[in-house]
């Protein structure tokens, strides 16, 4: 019988989107820019990837559509904003906890901040 965890591991795209939205509501372009900034330019998401993940996150209740309004830092067009939900915040926290646990294991095994024995 399959056991389903209440907070299963997140895909990298979902994780980055939740992380981007944890700082506040954002529209699609804003999410892309925030993901890029959070990952120091290492993760760039195309619209197909972003909205495919957003669709599943909306269905799963991790995020929700907010209102449609003008971004004061951009032009005067109204944009649809997305915001993280309680479930989304919980999933993000669980994922970060998993990462913290992995880092602590790596530290115990003296893998972190170094990488592998042959790098020493």
């Amino acid at each position: 019988m399959a056991i389903t965890s209440p907070n299963p591991p997140l895909t990298p795209a979902v994780f980055h989107i939740l992380l981007a939205l944890s700082g506040g509501e954002r529209h699609g372009y804003g999410i892309m820019k925030q993901v890029e900034a959070d990952s120091q330019g290492k993760v760039t998401m195309g619209p197909g990837t972003l909205y495919g993940s957003l669709k599943r996150m909306l269905d799963a209740g991790l995020v929700k559509e907010s209102d449609k309004r003008i971004d004061p830092e951009m032009d005067d067009e109204r944009r649809i904003y997305y915001q993280i939900t309680g479930v989304g915040a919980e999933s993000l926290a669980a994922e970060l906890e998993r990462y913290r646990h992995i880092v602590s294991i790596a530290q115990q095994r003296k893998l972190y901040p170094k990488t592998f024995a042959y790098d020493l």
Partner: protein
């Protein structure tokens, strides 16, 4: 530059129309806006073509992924056919014509005498690509209309229809290739070769039998889905079941082919009219607990 921007934006909007309907409704507007924002940002940077290529490829991959997910998740397909009613009516007419005209050409000599080899080419075209396209489109639209209440059966029906279509196209290709080879090489007198005739007849009959068999599964599954979900009139569901059961055994009892052709034509017309008039599920019976159907 503004002209270029308009063209690219128009193309991107066209591309977005290929997303499944539900996806488009939910996120299409936001995607358009995001693309416009990305485009404006990119105008100030080098590598314009690379950017366009990247966005279009990423979106195209997303479109394929969403369609695959909508199929594998058993979701009712509310997707690429912008006007399913038109598609349904056209496919129904095409299917009905292909069902009746092609066998008539094969069976009766009049048209053959009138048009010569052209008649056979027409028959192969009707009973191959035209029939296949009509069948797959019809089942596809039907799945969109009633798939929500019987997703697994309708998905299997679509798969069976695709296999039937493939087999019938293969038969048309074999027939056509064989005929042209005979015409090109009269000196070989292939029509007098018993081996050639046996191999050819067996091959054509075998693949045709497989086509009818898969068609049978498709019809039985649609009939069953229509019956239990009450999305189709009982009589039509019954016709689907009878036609399907007959088609399943055409490979063993070729004389059943005529019945299937007649029933297929009647079903195509009836189904086409129903789909054209629209909303079969709304004209039918009561609320059904969908969880008790295929979802179980």
């Amino acid at each position: 530059m503004i002209y270029e921007q308009e063209i690219v934006q128009k193309l991107y909007r066209k591309l977005l129309t290929l997303y499944p309907q539900r996806f488009k409704e939910q996120l299409g507007e936001s995607m358009e806006q995001t693309f416009d924002d990305l485009y404006k940002e990119q105008q100030t940077k080098p590598g314009w073509f690379r950017f366009i290529l990247w966005v279009f490829i990423d979106t195209a991959v997303g479109i394929v992924r969403e369609h695959v997910l909508s199929i594998t998740e058993g979701e009712a397909m509310k997707n690429t056919l912008a006007y399913p009613r038109h598609a349904a009516l056209i496919s129904a007419i095409v299917l009905a014509v292909a069902f009746i005209v092609a066998p008539m050409i094969y069976l009766f000599g009049n048209l053959r005498d009138t048009f010569g080899p052209l008649a056979y080419d027409l028959a192969d075209f009707l009973y191959g690509p035209v029939w296949a396209a009509g069948l797959v489109t019809m089942v596809f639209v039907l799945r969109e209309r009633i798939g929500e209440r019987a997703p697994r059966r309708m998905s299997l029906a679509l798969l069976a229809a695709a296999l039937a279509a493939g087999a019938m196209v293969a038969v048309a290709c074999i027939r056509s290739a064989n005929r042209h080879y005979h015409l090109i090489h009269p000196e070989l007198h292939l029509e007098e070769s018993a081996t050639v005739l046996i191999v050819w007849t067996t091959l054509v009959a075998g693949v045709t039998g497989a086509g009818w068999h898969f068609l049978g599964w498709a019809l039985v599954l649609i009939g069953s889905a229509g019956w239990t979900s009450r999305c189709l009139p009982r009589l039509l569901s019954g016709l689907y079941l009878v036609a399907g059961a007959s088609a399943l055994f055409v490979y063993r009892l070729p004389e059943l082919e005529g019945n299937v052709v007649m029933l297929g034509m009647v079903i195509s017309i009836w189904q086409g009219i129903l789909l054209w008039k629209g909303k079969p599920e709304e004209t039918q019976a009561p609320e059904i607990n969908t969880s008790q159907l295929d979802q179980a």
